[in-house]
Symmetry: C2
Subunit: 207 residues, 2 copies
DNA sequence: ACCTGAACACCGTTCAAGT
DNA sequence: ACCTGAACACCGTTCAAGT
């Protein structure tokens, strides 16, 4: 007899799940809703994903892939400080454009339903490269964590609506980013590098 | 006839929910599990909380109360920079001791199931006070957001296991915090205040 | 080889009935 | 005035039966 032909694909299922995620949050990503969106019934999804958790993990992985691809070209920048600012700004823009997926990426997912650590490392690589030129290889990891923590913390609080005391939020991000990036210096370098460099590209179009 | 006497209380229910939260995450905080823990059946909880979301909100509120009470006394500190570091460090310690509640506090909860904004403001007040002494009232909000974003971002990534590239995580927090706090200066002040102040209390007992 | 309806366990929530 | 069992809708997941 004629075996049933596939009516959907893993990629299509993940895309449908991601759309539902952005539209209605994680709660809206039910197996039934995803299945309905790709034109099958819920049990069919289990042919491609062993569980809802695995599907969420796949959604997170594609989002992390997008982020990595977005940041990768920014490592090659004449001015390292400018590169760091551009990477942080692109990171923030990604979060604004994919708020729910971003949320999932930094959520405390069970270890077996998380994107591979290597993928996180790939996404972090450009920033580490750039700050290494500023602070040296010794302090590169700490410095990258400083910038990443700031960017993630700022964006996370933005997205959850924690910044309700007023003020210009975009300007606040630039203010902090400038202060942070300016503070990145190679401790082995002489006093010449210590010239204050504040207030420079603060209001450039890319911020 | 004799009307049924209360077998539990809102406070007891919230406490039970918080214990379940820390023990097994948000998924473990089911109405049935909470009810069983306080010795009633699930429907009885609806006498005190209109929904599970409202109960989660109440749990978050008590946790935020604890955090506020923890930070409140730290605003009075001889050295403002030291005060800022102490506040950030206490914030991080709270997160380590209440990881799941911390997670909920900074989660994207529905607006009607979030602790009151005033309570967040109260928790943030000590830091704002302290940094105001460093950067002036004009920049106090931006500067407080810089420190908060860093602390939250760092802790959040710590808790979700994003720091897997090795290195001393405690030292990394201190490195970033020192760099950040040192960068807080009053722009109206003279060049005298610009003396580099790095490498000072980095390894003090309080860090 | 993939799809489906039916079924199961579990959850949040409602409500009439009890005391 | 509070507590309960029973019921409902919904969810993730399994599986035998279909093509």
């Amino acid at each position: 007899v004629s075996p049933a032909r596939a009516r959907t694909s893993s990629a299509e299922i993940v895309a449908a799940g991601r759309e539902l995620l952005e539209a209605g949050g994680l709660d809206a990503v039910t197996m039934q809703a995803v299945a309905h969106r790709v034109g099958v019934r819920a049990p069919s999804l289990y042919k491609r994903f062993p569980s809802r958790g695995a599907l969420i993990a796949a959604i997170a992985t594609t989002a992390l892939n997008d982020l990595r691809d977005l940041l990768a070209p920014l490592a090659v920048n004449a001015d390292a400080r400018d590169g760091a600012r551009r990477i942080a700004t692109a990171f923030r823009r990604f979060a604004h454009q994919n708020p729910r997926a971003y949320e999932v990426l930094f959520m405390n997912l069970p270890a077996d339903h998380r994107p591979q650590p290597e993928l996180f490392a790939e996404a972090a690589a450009p920033l580490i490269q750039v700050v290494e030129r500023l602070v040296g290889s010794e302090r590169a990891l700490d410095a990258a964590r400083l910038v990443t923590a700031y960017a993630h913390g700022f964006v996370s609080m933005e997205l959850t609506g924690a910044f309700r005391l007023g003020g210009d939020v975009n300007a606040a991000f630039g203010y902090g980013l400038d202060a942070l990036v300016d503070s990145l210096r190679d401790p082995r370098a002489g006093a010449k590098a210590r010239t204050p460099v504040s207030r420079r590209t603060r209001r450039s179009k890319s911020h």
